[in-house]
Subunit: 263 residues, 2 copies
Amino acid sequence: MEKENKRPLILVTNDDGYYAGGFKALIEIAKSFGDVVAVAPEVGNSGMSHAITIKVPIRLRLLDKTEGLALYACSGTPADCIKLAINQVLDRKPDLVLSGVNHGSNSSISLIYSGTMAGAIEGCLNGIDSVGLSLLDFARDANFQASVVYGKRIVSEVLRNGLPKGTCLNVNIPEGNVDEIKGVKVCRQNKGRWVEEFEKRTDPRGSNYFWLTGYYCNDEPESTDTDEAALNNKYVSIVPVKVDLSDYVMINTLNGWNLNESN
Amino acid sequence: MEKENKRPLILVTNDDGYYAGGFKALIEIAKSFGDVVAVAPEVGNSGMSHAITIKVPIRLRLLDKTEGLALYACSGTPADCIKLAINQVLDRKPDLVLSGVNHGSNSSISLIYSGTMAGAIEGCLNGIDSVGLSLLDFARDANFQASVVYGKRIVSEVLRNGLPKGTCLNVNIPEGNVDEIKGVKVCRQNKGRWVEEFEKRTDPRGSNYFWLTGYYCNDEPESTDTDEAALNNKYVSIVPVKVDLSDYVMINTLNGWNLNESN
């Protein structure tokens, strides 16, 4: 028992694959607070959302084990990584789950498509304080300096204060060095959506196929209390995210509908 | 214009594949209200959540076109199906998106893993009234009689009243015939989680692999106002689902944290 209380046990994952620069940054953040078990996808899982692997079996590969860090690659999704780590890798429930640092934003509605945030939400569902982190830079060689500085500050506060059951944090970090970032803002999720513009092509055999492309449409560009607004103003955004999606206001409205008589 | 106003245009999808019995039931529901465009996955996409296909191109195949119904198979996920239908198949924004009828429950936390509900949520993100329907029976030859009856009643009320922007409906239907079902209950999402029990096996070459298994753990078995409680008492459950996941209570708490000073 005394060993358990010495250093926090931190489970980390991501959705860009174990080799991603952002994952190395995340491990650096985590190692400064505790012992780290890292279970990340073998390959990129961007856009996999909260998918779980049920049609094929899942493989797990130990890549490295050094003082304070065990690193595994998993054939599954970020949600699978957290599930498999808790059930098969860890000998006790971790004190914290971190996911990221994603190469690219997960603000606003991107949260719903995000494999990174699925990793954090899966930790949260298992009753563990969980944080997802994303940098607004898709580049393979993106600069994670500010992510490490702000990531450490936020993780320190999470470990000190704890999070309520059923809520995790979605942290997004603007591009640039630390001195370009103005600070941290606690926000709500911006209302917006991806507008799709599929690109239609014809393959060498004459059949059509489509590539998903699109752009983000901000449905409330004038708002100042959202993650989009904070990021546009060079603040790190933190949105507390609930796993209970019930619309409590709408429950009352629906109770006034004519649902219990035939038409 | 006059043609557009004649009958509602209803876009339908599912996550079990276009050939599923539950999809035929959904088309039956939809056809009783309007013209139907059906775009569903080529193969089962259970557990795919809100995943989108970005690494490989997407294929679309017209299967059938009759009076009031066009049926397509799509190589992508349920979210892809809705995106592609809106962008490439439909000549106007549909009046309604329906997803399902899923073979198996999507109550409580299963909502987060559900490809069926991702189809409905994707419709909702595009500003379209959307409903996901699921039957508590995994069987290929499940009995969708009650799903059709209650599905029609609920869809009729959605078309009559409309849904607020950013909210869709998660409908779950108990097993059994209509006369075994007591009615409809508007509910909140039950608090619960899947407890994983991975099954470890060894392949013929001596390497280990894992199958995801597990059971549902109800974290509030005494509650009476949740979808789980309604379903256990043989009521159809309707949970209004928000796409804004912000925890507004926690925003205030986080504003009291020490996030803007270095440690």
